[in-house]
């Protein structure tokens, strides 16, 4: 690392600002979904290998700890989807004013909670079939 001062000067930002929080959360949930992609591939490979290995994989993929992982993945998916759409809107040059961005932050939170609750309801409460 060079000794001259380098941007970004992290200490000058107020880390509690919603702009920073929503941005880093989008990155964090994206990385979580990359791990989810690994799980999806494992699930598909087990499915292709036949009923016996699928049953073994499903035993590995169920249980209390696995439920926590699925819950985290569902939240991550909902957040990353909503925040991603927000980014696509920003890319058109709209919604960049401070008041608009603050409003869309609330919209992002509400959309994430609503989608998470909906998916969670259908996954665990309506049928109760998910591992």
């Amino acid at each position: 690392m060079p000794t001259r001062p380098l941007s970004p000067h992290l200490s000058v930002y107020r880390m509690s600002r919603y702009t920073l929080a929503t941005s880093i959360l989008n990155r964090f949930t994206g990385v979580a979904l990359s791990v989810g992609l690994l799980l999806l591939t494992y699930w598909l490979m087990a499915l292709a290998a036949g009923a016996a290995s699928y049953a073994r994989a499903l035993a590995l993929l169920s249980g209390g700890a696995a439920k926590l992982v699925y819950a985290a993945l569902i939240v991550s998916f909902c957040y990353h989807l909503a925040a991603g759409i927000r980014h696509l809107v920003w890319d058109t040059g709209r919604g960049l004013e401070r008041a608009q961005a603050r409003r869309s932050t609330w919209l992002l939170v509400v959309a994430t909670v609503a989608m998470t609750l909906a998916i969670g309801y259908f996954a665990w409460l309506a049928g109760g079939r998910t591992p």
Binding site: L37, L40, Y54, A55, G84, A123, R129
Partner: protein, 129 residues
């Protein structure tokens, strides 16, 4: 004073015009992933159970395998682009960063190929593979 890099001056080519490639593909894949990922989640939730017979039968339906292959390919590409930026931002050692980026790219290609092969094996039901 010229703003060109020494290499650019020597080659006389200027910019490679690929500066927005990463940004643009990240957007293209994200636009594609909106309907694909929603379709996948809704389809999984609509399945009556997640046992082998049910999921395999779902994958043999005409559109499921095609859309799932598109989802896996697009998601892997999008994930590779995203994880790449995370490594570029936080790993400062040039050697380690280069090795990590190469490994992560290989891992994503491997993941995508493995998932596509798995979908094809189920969808074609051993007829061809």
């Amino acid at each position: 004073m010229s703003l060109q890099t020494p290499l650019g001056r020597v080659l006389g080519l200027g910019a490679a015009k690929e500066g927005v490639q990463h940004w643009w593909v990240q957007r293209l894949t994200s636009v594609a992933l909106v309907p694909l990922s929603i379709w996948f989640v809704v389809s999984l939730l609509a399945l009556p159970s997640l046992d082998h017979a049910t999921v395999a039968a779902w994958l043999r339906q005409s559109w499921s395998a095609l859309l799932l292959i598109l989802l896996v390919l697009t998601a892997s590409w999008h994930s590779q682009l995203g994880v790449r930026v995370v490594v570029e931002d936080y790993v400062h050692d040039t050697g380690l960063r280069t090795v990590l980026l190469a490994l992560l790219t290989f891992a994503h290609v491997l993941l995508a190929a493995a998932a596509v092969l798995a979908v094809l094996r189920v969808a074609l039901g051993g007829a061809l593979l």
